[in-house]
Structures are given as C-alpha cells and as structure tokens.
C-alpha cells in the first residue's frame, strides 16, 4: 500500500518461517520440556482440574453414549472355563477384600496421568470364587459399551498391581471413568483397561479385542509396544 519500499523489511515471512520451525521442531523438544515443566504444569492442571474437571484425563468412547450404571440391575458375571460361574451384585463386589494403589496411567495416544489413587478388588479374589479350569489361559473382559472387549493372559492378570477398580481418587468411579468398575493394569496402555465392565470370561486362548482388531498390540506394555519399542 503506502509502504515506503526503501525501509520495508520482509519480517513477515521470517516470523512465519521461524515460528513454524519452532512449532515443528517441538516434536523433538516438547517431550523433555513437558517433563521439565511438569511440576509447574501439574499445579496448573490441578487448578484447571478444580475449575473444569480435566485433571489430565481424556475420555475415549467408541459408541454413541456412555453406559449408565444402575446399582439394582448391574451384575458382574464371571463365566467361561470356570467351575463355579459367578453373578455378583455391586454390593457383592464391595464386600470382597479391598485393595488400594497409587499408579500412573498411560494412554497409547501419548498422555499420562500420574499418581491416580485406585481402590478395588484384586482379580485373584474374583478368580478364586469362580475356580478357573486348568484349560483356562486368559480372561476376556466385556464392557457394557458394545462392542468393546479386551483381554489379559492369566499371568498378566496376576501382576501385583492389576485390579478391578471401583474407586478413583477417593470417590466411586464416575460414569466417564467406567462406573461401576474398570480394569486397571498400569504396566499397559489404557485401552487394555476395560471400562463399564460387565463380564469376565475365562478362555483357552487370547481373543482379538476391539483395539487389537484395529491394529493395536495385544501385549500393550508401556514404552515397549505400539511402535514405541
């Protein structure tokens, strides 16, 4: 326009290219930077979490709406290759020996929530009641959110910090977090932790779950699977 060409400088393109380069190289530095600033940002997200319930979590669902927990009609079935099939009410579940743990939750898409306080039941207490047959090798977990299923081998399910959680951070599991109960296995990415659990089925070989069918790894070890190994 009225720019005096003599003293005009092409700062626009320099700023554009410089900022774009800074943004694109952040694939290399965003990880370390977020770890360095974690003490600051976690305080920030705590604050934001109090205002807006964020807390670092993202809620992924695969169907139109989240299952709604009804205390009177909800049952947890344990079936398949077992001697004594079970049908537990929510109160039956709460009456089982209670376990606590603080563990870190890793999502395969890259986000992490540190120090989640879980309370629930160790899977072996559930299995003891059902008495798996010797031919059982794995547990298939079925969600009320259809068609979500996933599975763990029996040795994986017996890891010391694997649980069926019904409380998170001191409160009953909310609908978004899979009420009334979800599987927690901190060593693996979150998609293995089936939410809105309604059925556990003992099977002879590990079936393909929902995300495994879409190309994700069956053994979802954190940092050692899904292209991170």
């Amino acid at each position: 326009m009225t720019t005096d060409d003599a003293d005009a400088r092409p700062y626009g393109r320099r700023a554009f290219l410089g900022l774009l380069a800074a943004g694109l190289t952040s694939f290399a530095w965003a990880g370390p930077a977020s770890r360095i600033f974690a003490p600051v940002t976690s305080q920030f997200s705590q604050l934001a979490g109090d205002l807006l319930p964020v807390g670092g979590w993202r809620i992924y669902t695969i169907s139109g709406s989240m299952p709604l927990f009804d205390r009177d009609t909800w049952r947890l079935e344990i079936g398949g290759l077992v001697r004594k099939p079970q049908r537990l009410t929510y109160d039956d579940l709460l009456a089982l020996p209670r376990a606590h743990q603080i563990s870190t939750f890793h999502c395969v898409t890259g986000w992490t929530v540190h120090d989640v306080r879980w309370a629930g039941v160790r899977l072996n207490h559930l299995l003891e009641r059902a008495e798996p047959l010797p031919s059982a090798r794995a547990i298939r977990f079925v969600s009320l959110e259809q068609p979500y299923t996933d599975s763990l081998t029996l040795p994986q399910a017996a890891l010391p910090d694997v649980m069926l959680a019904y409380e998170m951070d001191g409160k009953p599991l909310t609908r978004a977090h899979g009420s009334p109960a979800r599987v927690v296995i901190p060593e693996m990415y979150g998609y293995k932790g089936v939410k809105w659990l309604t059925r556990m089925e003992l099977v002879a070989s590990q079936p393909t779950g929902y995300w495994e069918g879409l190309g994700y790894d069956q053994n979802a070890w954190v940092g050692r699977s899904n292209g991170r190994d």
């Binding site: 009225t2 400088r9 092409p10 626009g12 943004g23 694939f27 965003a30 898409t109």
Partner: protein, 206 residues
C-alpha cells in the same frame, strides 16, 4: 452529514477470513467436547463428534483451495506482500508507539502470521493423530501434546481478536470491513491514516 466509505477487504479476502473463522469455531467446539471429560459426558456421541471434527478440517482445506483457485488471486498476493513487509512505522508500532499505519497495522500483520502458523501446526498434528490411528509408525507421543498447546495459544489469540473486533469501542468498527467490505473514512483516518489517504472509495452514506 454524509460519511464517506472506503473499501477495505476484497470479497476473496473476506471469504478466506470467514472460511477460517467458521472452521475454527466448529473445530473448537467439537474439539472441546472431545477433550473435556465433563463435556464428553454431557454430550456423549464421541464417534459423531470425532467425524464432525475430522470432516470440518477436510472441508476447511478444500474451501481454502477453492478460494485460491476461484477467487481473486491478485488480491491475495497483494495481501501476502502486505503482511510480509514491515516498514519503519510498523516496527515503531510494535515498540508501542503509534505512528500512522497502513491498511493493516503491525499487530494485525502479526495476528495474520500467527494464525497461519497455528493453522499449519493444527493441520500437521491433526493429520498425524488421524493417520496414526491407522498406522503405528506415525504415532508419536508428542503429537497430542502439541495439538493441545496449539489450541491453548489459538484460544488466547482468538479471544484477543474477538475483543478488539467486537467489544472494544474504538476498534470494533473494523468488523464492518470484514463483513460488508468497507469502513468509514473518518474511522480509517484515525486508525489507518497512511491507507486512508490513498484508499479507493466505496460510495457515500446514503
């Protein structure tokens, strides 16, 4: 009293602006509903929201290409040149002085540059998030973190832009340039003096 009007933004420039603005708002709304647990629970329907989010991004890209192909490319090239060039007065403006400004003041140029950078970063990280679900080789731990941060920065920029164009009494007349294409000459003389001196008229107030 009749007030003279000056043509500020061409039809093509305005189309680019509103394509960008409407896509941003839809992407922001669906993105927030995907991102905030409280909203996800309220809205539900995640697969639908995700599809709207992805297809809006696609429509945004197609619309921008169409504007460039079908629109007034000369006006777009002139705008690019204008945003690129920072003269002495622009540089002084950035040092918080107020010398007379051209059609775009230095802050508006910075806003345009930042918007373009953020859009490209959204695009790159968004495509990686989408394609990474289909091919693990394109799944990087940082992608979602960067997509989030680009959102935070965009929100700040967007709120500032909204304040100046809709709320702040001295600057909000600028919105007329982006909706009707013209601004009043007396307003332009105050805010964009160098441009007002040479700008093409757009008729007088009837």
């Amino acid at each position: 009293m009749t007030r003279r009007r000056l043509a500020r933004f061409s039809r093509t420039e305005r189309t680019v602006h509103w394509v960008h603005a409407s896509a941003f708002l839809i992407l922001l709304a669906t993105g927030l509903a995907l991102y905030l647990p409280s909203l996800s629970e309220l809205v539900g329907r995640r697969p639908l929201l995700k599809s709207i989010h992805v297809y809006t991004a696609l429509a945004w890209l197609v619309a921008l290409v169409l504007v460039v192909v079908l629109g007034d490319r000369r006006s777009l090239r002139a705008t690019l040149r204008e945003v690129d060039q920072f003269d002495r007065d622009d540089r002084a403006w950035l040092r918080r002085r107020h010398p007379p400004q051209g059609r775009l003041n230095a802050g508006q140029k910075v806003n345009a540059i930042l918007t373009a950078v953020l859009a490209l970063l959204f695009l790159v990280t968004g495509v990686l998030l989408w394609y990474g679900e289909r091919d693990t080789r394109f799944r990087f731990a940082q992608t979602i973190l960067i997509h989030d941060w680009v959102t935070y920065v965009s929100l700040v920029l967007f709120l500032g832009h909204l304040y100046l164009s809709v709320i702040h009494p001295r600057t909000r007349h600028a919105l007329s340039g982006m909706t009707r294409g013209w601004v009043y000459e007396d307003w332009a003389r105050e805010h964009h003096a160098k441009w007002a001196a040479v700008a093409r008229g757009a008729g007088d107030e009837p």
